[in-house]
């Protein structure tokens, strides 16, 4: 009984987000009827799927009170190395390329994991440093050159353009990642313990939960997903550059925060995350449709994040105040 009440207030946020998305979609539809066409929605989802994949990893990191600013660089590095490999060995199976990219990401994630979990370096500092190092390495391995579409075999590019069961591969990957993540976070002990570590790290230590190992795991997963995304990114845009995905981490963090993940740890759900990612995808994709210059994009995204967190803070303050009043009149 009491349980229902609790879940209702906690789902209020997601409900609000859902209504906001509908309203936003409606408003955009009024301006440009092309918005709700199937083709546009598919392209919106395709464009958002990489963001969605990364947001899952970022949620895990944020749950443990961490942050990862290095993923833009990881995307670029894993994408660049993979592109160079397939350009050199065109016969390489595409799935092997994916595995290679993910493995590169995992290694980078493990380095960050060691710094944060073993040496207690602040996540923001460790990942800021890794962001530079990995970005620099990207330029170094590429020698400052691009890998362009004609250098990549078709089988590789098909990773992002091909379809499985009639659905674009990127969307399929994103769906799989979300399903696995939902199961992992809600139904496995490790998943629940990640919440516990973020909710109260000291308690986790005392009750024998392997806190450091979980923190390490979280950054490794984030790295792996970023590496995977790097390959998908390069396949989708059919080019690998030194400055691929610069600043993309900000958008991923923004999507998480819109989805109700708290940067203070312990709070965040996959369902909310999905809505946040979709909202962010609409913001990124619909603006050109209603004749907003792409130069507005960054500013609008920043303002959205700020407004979202401030609204959330205000709502919490208000609920607390009214709870007090209720207590007082009792």
């Amino acid at each position: 009984m009491a349980g229902r009440k609790v879940t209702f207030t906690e789902n209020l946020r997601e409900l609000g987000l859902f209504i906001f998305i509908i309203a936003l979609g409606f408003a955009i539809q009024m301006r440009n009827p092309a918005f709700l066409r199937v083709s546009n929605i598919v392209s919106l989802l395709t464009n958002t799927s990489i963001l969605g994949i990364l947001a899952v990893g970022m949620m895990l990191v944020l749950l443990t009170r961490g942050i990862d600013l290095s993923i833009g660089s990881t995307i670029a590095f894993s994408g660049m190395v993979t592109a160079l490999t397939v350009a050199r060995y065109p016969g390489m199976p595409a799935l092997l390329a994916v595995a290679q990219g993910a493995a590169i990401g995992v290694v980078i994630g493990m380095v960050i994991g060691v710094l944060v979990a073993r040496f207690d370096v602040l996540p923001i500092i460790a990942t800021l440093g890794m962001m530079n190092i990995v970005r620099g390495l990207t330029y170094v391995v590429s020698g400052g050159r691009w890998v362009s579409a004609y250098q990549m075999p078709d089988s590789f590019k098909a990773l992002a353009t091909g379809r499985t069961l009639g659905i674009n591969n990127l969307i399929v990957v994103a769906i799989v990642v979300y399903l696995v993540a939902t199961y992992f976070m809600n139904h496995t002990r490790t998943g629940r313990r990640i919440y516990a570590v973020g909710s109260n790290p000291d308690a986790a230590e005392v009750s024998g939960i392997p806190k450091r190992r979980l923190v390490f795991l979280v950054y490794t997963i984030m790295g792996g997903l970023a590496g995977l995304s790097g390959v998908l990114w390069v396949a989708r845009f059919a080019s690998a550059q030194g400055d691929t995905a610069v600043g993309y981490e900000l958008q991923v963090i923004a999507a998480c925060i819109l989805g109700g993940v708290s940067i203070l740890g312990g709070v965040g759900k996959i369902s909310g995350l999905l809505l946040g990612t979709i909202l962010f995808g609409i913001l990124a994709n619909a603006l050109p449709l209603i004749d907003v210059s792409p130069f507005w994009q960054m500013g609008i995204q920043g303002v959205t994040v700020l407004v979202a967190v401030m609204t959330n803070a205000m709502v919490i303050r208000n609920t607390e105040r009214s709870a007090l009043r209720r207590r007082a009149t009792m």
């Binding site: 009491a2 002990r189 629940r192 909710s199």
Partner: protein, 528 residues
């Protein structure tokens, strides 16, 4: 005290035994050749001043630390814990002083964190079994809240019940409670006593650590005292007097805890009228005069601290008025309060009172930086001189004012906080639980200081839960209950019973109302 050491090596029912445990941290011998034994189904009190080694002792039993020498014997078998989990497997569980919960997770998850229920084949979390089991445990403890409740939304007392349920869920046979009553009201403490006794009836053995003699008297069969990392003695509770226990803890007699002083009470310095802060307290009125010690008492959570925080500008009041020396004032923030002449010794010394890594001197002058600077420019010589004077005046035990506060004992830290208040020219001093977590020896010194302050003409508001303190120090007593003032008494003709009655139930109608309120509160918690 060596006469008491002859204890129960030969008792067959010994479930846990620690032999000749020594633990050395860099620079400190935390435990020195300590031994301890716990019998089946026994509640064993453990007492000692702060720094006596109790915390290290718990950590060794629970496997957080490994002892340097000595052995731990459980059920007659020698064991060595490599991690807290191993201790848990052998049935050791600890309920810590500061409740260690996961506020964002459900009660059921809090109970089973670390040993979650999983389904047989897929090893996935079995939510149904967990909630079912958790609810059963809660019901067994007569807790009337749901296992689906979010932990962060519960009161401290309820969180503690969850912690106990957690201990039960691990099938713990040895439960260590580390000052569980410190944050509880009397009513909640009684509830805890009941649950603890229930545990013992079920065959669990409990190590009950407390500063409160009352807890030990009520619950324990035997009591062990540590001092300076050494085992001082172990006695059956009935056979030892309160005085003897205190002596064992302190190592010397305290002759005059509350010296009688005659202080001339002067002009009124503070008048609080109908002060209300919605949700915390309502219609609080009292006055305070120079040289007077006004005790503000009542159960924890009665709104005492909140009233004082409001007077100190930490929070704003919603209605009512405050007059300082006859002038009506508003108090925006602590700086404002200090300028009006109101100082405060906050409840949580380490979090609110001190910059722990700083030196004594810098801490002392923190509230009065303005006074030691001209246009922001610090005059360090004058600052150090003043800090030194205050530290000497309050008898802070340290080699110099450049010693870090971190390295001081609780009592000396508290003296530094008092020195901070004295660094400004004030008229009114609020002392919120000044002896909380301070060892018995230092308590006497602090009482002395409080007396001196009153003598110097400060008006003092003393918040305290300890009855002897309230009765021994104050001139007048204001009792609060659930955010309201329920009694104002002259200390000279007040009795402990009067105060307790006022802080719990005022009269029969009130009692009936209370019961009604409680049932509706619980109803709204689980209903709608």
């Amino acid at each position: 005290m060596s006469e008491a050491i002859a204890n129960s090596d030969d008792t067959p029912g010994s479930i846990l035994e620690l032999r000749r445990i020594t633990k050395i941290f860099p620079g400190v011998k935390a435990l020195d050749d300590v031994h301890f034994d716990l019998r089946q189904g026994e509640i064993h009190g453990l007492m000692g001043e702060n720094g006596a080694g109790k915390s290290t002792f718990i950590k060794i039993i629970t496997g957080v630390h490994a002892p340097d020498t000595g052995e731990i014997v459980i059920d007659g078998r020698k064991v060595e814990f490599k991690s807290p989990i191993e201790a848990q497997r052998l049935g050791v569980a600890a309920i810590y002083q500061h409740v260690t919960c996961y506020p964002d997770l459900s009660v059921a998850e809090n109970i089973f964190m670390g040993h979650e229920k999983v389904t047989g084949l897929t090893r996935r979390v079995d939510w149904k079994a967990m909630h079912g089991e958790a609810q059963k445990l809660l019901d067994r403890l007569d807790a009337n809240f749901s296992s689906r409740e979010r932990m962060g939304a519960l009161s401290v007392a309820r969180q503690q019940i969850v912690e106990i349920a957690k201990a039960l869920s691990t099938n713990a046979r040895i439960v260590i409670m580390d000052e569980p009553t410190a944050a509880l009201t009397q009513h909640e403490s009684n509830e805890l006593y009941r649950i603890t006794e229930q545990l013992c009836d079920a065959g669990v053995s409990v190590i009950f650590i407390s500063h409160r003699l009352e807890d030990i008297r009520r619950l324990a069969q035997r009591v062990t005292v540590f001092r300076d990392g050494r085992h001082i003695g172990c006695w059956p509770v009935q056979e030892i007097t309160q005085d003897k226990l205190v002596v064992a803890m302190v190592g010397r007699e305290i002759s005059t805890m509350f010296p009688k002083r005659r202080i001339d009470i002067g002009e009124e310095v503070l008048r609080v009228a109908n002060l209300t802060r919605i949700g915390y307290f309502r219609d609080v009125s009292f006055t305070l005069r120079q040289g007077e010690i006004l005790a503000l008492t009542g159960l924890v959570g009665a709104g005492r601290t909140e009233v004082c925080e409001t007077l100190y500008g930490i929070a704003r009041w919603d209605s009512g008025s405050v007059l300082v020396e006859g002038r009506e004032v508003t108090i925006e923030d602590p700086l404002h309060a200090l300028r009006l002449g109101i100082g405060c010794l906050p409840e949580d010394r380490q979090r609110q009172g001190l910059v722990l890594p700083w030196e004594i001197g810098k801490n002392i002058t923190l509230p009065s930086l303005r006074a030691f600077s001209r246009l922001y420019w610090m005059d360090e010589d004058r600052e150090n001189q003043a800090a030194g004077e205050l530290a000497r005046k309050l008898n802070v035990k340290a080699s110099s004012i450049f010693t870090r506060v971190l390295a001081l004992s609780g009592g000396n830290q508290q003296k530094v906080v008092v020195a901070k208040i004295l660094s400004r020219h004030l008229k009114i001093i609020i002392l919120d639980e000044p002896t909380k977590g301070v060892d018995v020896g230092a308590k006497a010194a602090i009482y002395d200081i409080i007396g001196d302050l009153a003598e110097q003409g400060y008006g003092i508001i003393l918040i305290s839960s300890e009855m002897p303190e309230v009765l021994g120090l104050s001139d007048r007593i204001v009792v609060m209950k659930e955010g309201r003032v329920t009694a104002q008494l002259e200390t000279a003709n007040a009795t402990q019973e009067q105060i307790l009655k006022a802080s719990m139930v005022v009269d029969a109608t009130e009692a009936a109302a209370e019961v009604a309120a409680e049932t509706t509160a619980d109803g709204s918690g689980s209903g709608e």
